[in-house]
């Protein structure tokens, strides 16, 4: 069983489109995260939810909107995609402030 799963694994789309990435964890964790890894492999936190409540909201364009329908799911919706949004997006979860478990990533390519 995959602990943290993301769909899709690859996403290729045109500039200006709207897309969503889904994340699910079956670890029973309360906290979930979205990270962006750029082409230089630098990882940066974007958002975090704890028990469906937003607790981390870094300086991210408001075209990015996270949604947590329940503790096990955290989705990321991106409006009006731009070339600079091309990156690998990782979902992660943790049991409180303990270690974070990462998903396999979603490689987003904006053409």
């Amino acid at each position: 069983d995959t602990a943290v799963s993301q769909t899709p694994k690859y996403l290729v789309t045109q500039m200006g489109n709207d897309k969503s990435i889904k994340c699910e964890q079956n670890l029973g964790h309360d906290t979930m995260y979205w990270y962006k890894q750029d082409s230089k492999k630098f990882l940066k936190i974007m958002f975090s939810y704890n028990n469906k409540e937003l607790i981390i909201n870094e300086t991210v364009p408001n075209r990015f909107s996270p949604k947590s329908p329940d503790k096990a799911h955290l989705n990321l919706h991106i409006n009006s995609l731009e070339l600079g949004d091309s990156a690998v997006y990782f979902c992660a979860s943790s049991g409180g402030r303990d270690e974070q478990f990462f998903g396999p990533g979603t490689r987003l390519t904006v053409l």
């Binding site: 943290v4 906290t31 995260y33 230089k40 492999k41 630098f42 990882l43 940066k44 936190i45 975090s48 704890n50 607790i55 981390i56 990782f90 992660a92 943790s94 402030r97 270690e99 974070q100 478990f101 990462f102 998903g103 396999p104 990533g105």
Partner: protein, 113 residues
């Protein structure tokens, strides 16, 4: 706010040789420290962590790291590397009262036969 500096962006090493990856952090409060490994085209996996107690922590595959509070460092070492250790290694730090994990820029380890 906390930050992490990984001093080496790329480390080429021969198989069975030792390797050390350097990590320094800054924070105004107590921290937890982590090393993650990312194999090509995969997600991140936790290698080891320091939360409290013994300053020397070990992983199941032969890596170890030592927390040095006075030097604000958490260097990663392995006495003998394998080809399969070729990967990207990330040092990360988190304030003990926070959820936010800050990553270093990563060190690419390439093991050659």
């Amino acid at each position: 706010a906390q930050s992490v500096t990984q001093l080496d962006s790329q480390v080429p090493v021969f198989e069975e040789a030792p390797v050390e990856l350097r990590c320094n952090y800054s924070s105004s409060v107590s921290v937890y420290l982590f090393w993650y490994v990312q194999y090509p085209n995969q997600g991140l996996q936790l290698l080891l962590k320091y939360l409290s107690g013994s300053t020397l922590v070990e992983s199941i595959n032969g890596f170890e790291a030592e927390f040095n509070k006075s030097q604000t460092s958490f260097h990663l070492r392995k006495p003998s590397v394998h080809i399969s250790d070729t990967a990207e290694y990330f040092c990360a730090v988190r304030n003990i009262n926070d959820y936010k994990l800050s990553f270093g820029a990563g060190t690419t380890v390439t093991v050659r036969a």
